[in-house]
Symmetry: C2
DNA sequence: AAATTTTGTTAGTCTGCCTAACATAATACG
DNA sequence: CGTATTATGTTAGGCAGACTAACAAAATTT
């Protein structure tokens, strides 16, 4: 994650009391809540709540949006982040699509757009940068004054990402700025797209109930995002979870080569093996991965064999992850990985080779990455608003 | 890490101010310090320091041990943890030796002993449990009243260790209690021995300057300890870093088996390969690992080949670690790993296969594990004293 | 011996929370 | 329908734990 500019909107929450800050954080994180709920959750007394809410309303960081009636007694006031908290723009700069969402810091959707790139981009480069610039410009043109100030722009990249103290030159992350310049005064948060998908599984997806898990993406490319105690593991070079660089092949006499796992486990290699080994009796080989999976589901023996073999390979990969990180839960995602058919075999192999892991299949579709970067952008915005941004 | 009993000495620091607690923590962690130093480090004003130190001295948690004279001005008073902070006993329950240290919470050595087991134990069992019981009993018999209360017993185990919420039955950790019962009222902290070695590298060893790194142990057995932001990564099953269960062999058509890496990378397998492939022209094969290393250092070609090949294998292992965790620094330890001769090759292979990592060789000898569990025991004791023990 | 510098103490203040008591607004009950 | 009960919100007052300012003490330099 990265902050390129630090000249942002004045943080209205620079001088709030600790309780007011914690209330705002809760409102931003969990959406609308009543005063008693907030006080209960944070262990604050009613007088303190009164004072803190008054503080927040005074600077526009909280607004009363209604009242709810319990079974008995007076109605409770319901609040959410106020207009001064502003909004964020989140962009998934993917290799085939650019997805954009504008949302409030409590993640209410204000605007969204999707742009399909004219051609699939293997690497982060000018094509993507250009598309991001266009989509952002279009969004800024449609910005409503009621959205409040733009606090943060978050961009998910198909590239390693390092923070300010890391060696930026060694990643491709700066390529995102090759064709556009983000608006001055608005900080930009960058994050790797697989990490974003992991964040989304945690905040919106199948891993909502777990603060520690790994997200394994298997598709054209392979990757992993590691969440520990609710925080992303990034690593010194932003390379944590870059399982495409596991030593592979590995064994007595094997000669591992950089990036070789991905060339073996990626969808292209899989389909090549499928085509090569396809029995003539079964007719033409599957046209693509979806076709392969469909035929396996339909009961085709050859297809099932290939899918099972692939699931075993994924299981081995997951076992290595468990042996190193022992996350307790692994979420499978990506074009291939998201298919529930793989789950039983992956589970069996991983648990046989290493230690107990639960395996789940991602439920978020194409939106996982945008939702993840949106979460990170909102967190950043809240930090900025409260004057607690980490440098 | 694990706490079996919670009935401990009354925590004298239950009702201290936050500043007093932070001062005590600093005294325990960094040893003797002057008031100005403490105040400076913690950002506390002199009046606050006065009050807090008075609090601590009042309950015996701090003692003035002298004064130091700066170049100018009045002398500054020097403090360290007081008699009420008591002591801890730390035990490395190893497979060949049981090492024990009694020390104050600021890690001044009070007493130490080493017991050599009559026979090497592959698994944690009654032999080790018995030896631990004996050594602990001998220590308790020699305990000096001046040491203050025994706060915590820490034991490093050659086994996976899970916390209270984990599935204890699935590990062998309880076997440590098969032949001895720790004194009632004294909490016991258990930790895996490789994790302890990692902690020691951080607190006393070559990784003092890094809060994030991995410690890779290569010897009879192989293992890894992962330190992230100064905290051990344990994992859901206490299996984080259990690289003996990486999927291996791994490759197109390979059939991985549980625990196979250890059977390939461990010293026994290495020496078997060395003996098998030893050219008759070179005379009798090396008797043991130390012999192999000595011959390699002396320039023997066959020995060098085997050592280089092993270093390449270790490099591949490290590369997998870097691809998953990207720690930035890997410390090599263990009977084989600690040999500096491996370093260049490991560094070359790891950096070629994955991402930039610094590789260092452990400098702590046999004491690494005791020192690590001592650090953990002291941390636990401090938490207990301050009434902040995590359950 | 006086000036300077650092350390430690005393006095007073301020912030941010709390508890206790009261006020308000809803439902439940006779 | 009025009163009891209950939940929510406010007012008043207090207290813990930090701070600043000013002073006192103990070392050095001039």
């Amino acid at each position: 994650m990265d902050r390129l500019q630090d000249r942002s909107e004045p943080s209205p929450g620079g001088a709030l009391t600790a309780s007011a800050k914690s209330i705002f954080r809760l409102l931003a994180g969990r959406g609308p809540a009543t005063r008693p709920q907030l006080g209960e959750t944070l262990g604050l007394s009613r007088p303190t709540m009164s004072a803190a809410i008054a503080e927040l309303e005074g600077v526009g960081l909280a607004t009363k949006i209604g009242e709810v009636q319990g079974p008995l007694g007076r109605k409770a006031a319901v609040y959410r982040p106020g207009p001064a908290s502003g909004h964020v723009v989140s962009i998934d700069a993917g290799s085939t699509h650019v997805r954009l969402r504008a949302s409030t810091v409590d993640r209410r959707l204000l605007h969204s757009r999707v742009y399909r790139l004219p051609s699939s981009q293997l690497l982060l480069g000018e094509e993507i940068s250009h598309a991001v610039a266009d989509e952002l410009a279009a969004t800024l043109a449609e910005t409503d004054a009621a959205w409040g100030p733009l606090r943060t722009i978050g961009i998910a990249l198909p590239s390693r990402v390092v923070g300010p103290q890391g060696d930026r030159g060694s990643t491709r992350q700066e390529a995102i700025f090759s064709r556009f310049e983000p608006p001055a005064n608005v900080p930009v948060v960058l994050e790797n797209n697989v990490n974003c998908a992991a964040v989304a599984e945690h905040s919106n997806g199948i891993a909502r109930d777990c603060d520690t898990f790994a997200y394994v993406q298997i598709g054209l490319k392979i990757g992993m995002g590691i969440m520990l105690d609710g925080k992303l593991l990034r690593g010194r070079n932003g390379a944590a979870g870059e399982i495409s660089h596991l030593a592979f092949p590995m064994g007595d006499g094997a000669l591992p080569a950089p990036g070789e796992v991905e060339r073996y486990m990626g969808t292209e290699a899989l389909m090549r093996r499928v085509a090569d080994g396809w029995p003539e009796t079964e007719g033409p080989p599957p046209a693509d991965a979806a076709d392969l999976m469909a035929r396996a589901e339909a009961g085709n023996g050859a297809a099932i064999d290939h899918v099972t073999r692939h699931a075993k390979d994924i299981g081995a990969l997951v076992a290595s992850c468990v042996s190193m990180v022992d996350p307790g839960l692994v979420v499978l995602g990506g074009g291939m990985g998201a298919n529930p058919m793989l789950l039983p075999t992956v589970h069996e192999v991983a648990n046989r080779l290493s230690y107990p892991v639960e395996i789940r299949t991602s439920s978020l579709g194409q939106d996982a990455t945008v939702l993840g970067i949106e979460k990170l952008a909102c967190d950043n915005a809240v930090d900025l608003i409260l004057g607690e941004a980490r440098n």
